[in-house]
């Protein structure tokens, strides 16, 4: 009797394993949930990447759309671009704040444009058929390579290219996705011929990166230009004369089928009112003053009669 039971249990376990193995097939188990995540028509799901500015912009979009009577669901801090673009494509989210330059480089492997308008035009052509971008705003937030005052003085660094002779002794820090991204480690090698001794994966321009630069675990780090920690710590942003990090205007990326006149009017109005200085100030309130992004978003919308 006992042997039969053991045999049954083993067969059941093997069958379950077999079903699980075949059932997954070619689908990606990390892919965002399918129909379960889709919102009903007439409502919109706003997502954001996993850094404070993206969450803030998503809150601003969500607030403006709610004020115009659109039903909004928020899914903030999803992850890197490689994670949320598939979510956009399969309908788990409908709208996300993006940056023209990096988005263009993500969709178009041969992206060449560097100025604001050129990049926007190239992006509009490169976006997949089911997605679209609305009007861009004047606000820009670029990736940058940042060093401390001390390092800049020691090696006489003004632009990224100046790192070339020293790079083999230096450590670069950045988000884990920088290891393979065209604007990350491969891009620095391709455009400025930089071969760093090591690349230390940290977070996307967050507290780990700032701390690592401050305490010397990395010699240069990737931070976003609107990050208040740069000014607070006297960091030096290295110039990018060869425009590896092209123009990065904030722009809403949205599923084409979700665009209605109300939604595009609301989002275009936000883009018209946002500029780099304002964005920098808002990010400072979230990161330095530790205010809730939803509150900061509400205040911005109220001040500009958008919410």
């Amino acid at each position: 009797m006992k042997r039969t039971r053991i045999a049954l249990a083993v067969t059941a376990a093997a069958a379950l394993f077999g079903v699980a193995a075949c059932g997954s097939g070619s689908s990606d188990p990390l892919a965002a949930g399918g129909s379960a995540g889709k919102a009903s028509s007439g409502s919109i799901v706003v997502g954001s990447a996993n850094f404070p500015e993206s969450a803030l912009l998503a809150e601003i979009y969500a607030g403006a759309l709610s004020a115009k009577g659109v039903k909004v669901d928020k899914k903030l801090n999803i992850g890197s671009r490689e994670t949320y673009i598939p979510a956009l494509k399969d309908g788990s989210i409908d709208l996300i704040p993006e940056y023209t330059g990096v988005l263009d480089q993500y969709f178009n492997k041969n992206a060449k444009a560097t100025t604001s308008d050129d990049v926007y035009a190239e992006l509009k052509a490169a976006v997949p058929a089911t997605l679209t971008v609305l009007n861009k705003s004047a606000a820009e937030d670029k990736d940058s390579v940042v060093v401390t005052q001390k390092t800049a003085a020691k090696y006489g660094l003004k632009s990224i290219g100046d790192l070339a002779p020293q790079a083999k002794n230096l450590t670069l820090g950045g988000p884990p996705e920088w290891k393979t991204r065209p604007t990350g480690v491969p891009g620095l090698k391709r455009v400025y011929n930089l071969d760093f001794k090591t690349f230390r994966p940290l977070d996307a321009g967050g507290p780990l990166s700032v701390q690592a630069l401050k305490n010397g675990q990395v010699d240069a780090v990737n931070l976003f230009t609107t990050d208040p920690s740069i000014a607070d710590n006297g960091f030096v942003i290295l110039d990018d004369p060869k425009s590896l990090f092209a123009a990065q205007n904030v722009v809403p990326l949205i599923t084409k089928s979700k665009v209605t006149p109300t939604i595009s009017a609301a989002l275009d109005a936000i883009s018209a009112k946002l500029d780099t200085a304002t964005l920098g100030q808002l990010v400072k309130e979230v990161v330095v003053d530790k205010k809730d992004p939803a509150v900061v978003a509400k205040e911005f919308l109220a001040k500009n009669n958008l919410g």
Binding site: G79, E82, P86, P175, K179, P201, Q211, Q217
Partner: protein
């Protein structure tokens, strides 16, 4: 999916280099074993003392139990924010990660140690006393050997947990097998993530088997009843073979 994982694991390029599987394995083992050894150095003497004297039992037992509930990842972020600015260089990340893993490893080893000593047969203690041993001698010659099965069990449990949790070191930029998990997640490279998880599981199993072997050789045979040849007993003398002190192997 299984094919893609297999393909990723068998790709030779993934095994070599500063990013390769071998290097990450060594780093992972380094973090884990260092943490377990330091935790054992703290927890075993403490556990032996508590078990032998019975002092501080309630306090330490409850503290160890509460420490098991601490979420490792949360503690890691707190430790990085607190300790990070105090150090420069790699220590600023190694110290918090090490601290978290040590805190994780102490409760199982501590429990094993004091439960082991407390569970020693009173007859054995009595016999030791009868032979003239006092205090520390009883501990060293009788209680510690008898407690070894439970101590080893605690060490194995701690090692398993630490190897599984040492993946969080990758969240703060360190190496180890967690690197494949985090980097794979960041760029949605699922075979990389799944391979990393699989490697961690395999490593944990392999180390546990090694420790089982160690346990087999370290724990006295009088406890486990494991004899190479059958013991013969003279039936005329009316002596029965001694029952093993344990009915199961730890």
């Amino acid at each position: 999916m299984i094919n893609r994982i297999f393909a990723w694991l068998t790709d030779g390029a993934h095994w070599q280099g500063s990013d390769g599987i071998l290097r990450r394995l060594v780093e992972h083992l380094g973090y884990s074993l260092t943490a377990v050894i330091i935790a054992a150095l703290i927890a075993i003497p403490l556990g032996l003392y508590i078990g032998h004297t019975g002092r501080g039992r309630v306090f330490v037992v409850n503290l160890a139990g509460a420490a098991r509930a601490i979420p490792s990842l949360g503690l890691l972020f707190i430790a990085v924010l607190w300790l990070g600015p105090k150090f420069s260089g790699d220590i600023a990340f190694l110290a918090p990660a090490g601290l978290v893993l040590i805190v994780l490893a102490i409760p199982p080893i501590l429990s094993g140690a004091y439960a082991g000593v407390e569970g020693v047969e009173p007859d054995a203690r009595d016999a030791a006393r009868g032979m003239g041993m006092r205090g520390p001698e009883v501990l060293r010659h009788v209680e510690l050997p008898c407690a070894l099965p439970l101590i080893m069990s605690g060490i194995r449990s701690a090692t398993l947990q630490v190897i599984a949790t040492a993946t969080i070191a990758a969240v703060v930029g360190l190496g180890g097998l967690g690197r494949f998990l985090i980097d794979g997640l960041a760029v949605r490279d699922t075979p990389q993530t799944a391979s990393g998880a699989l490697l961690v599981a395999l490593l944990a199993l392999a180390v546990d088997m090694v420790l089982a072997l160690v346990q087999r050789f370290v724990v006295s045979r009088g406890l486990t009843g494991r004899y190479r040849t059958a013991q013969t007993f003279d039936s005329d003398a009316g002596v029965t073979p001694p029952a093993p002190a344990l009915q199961h192997s730890a």
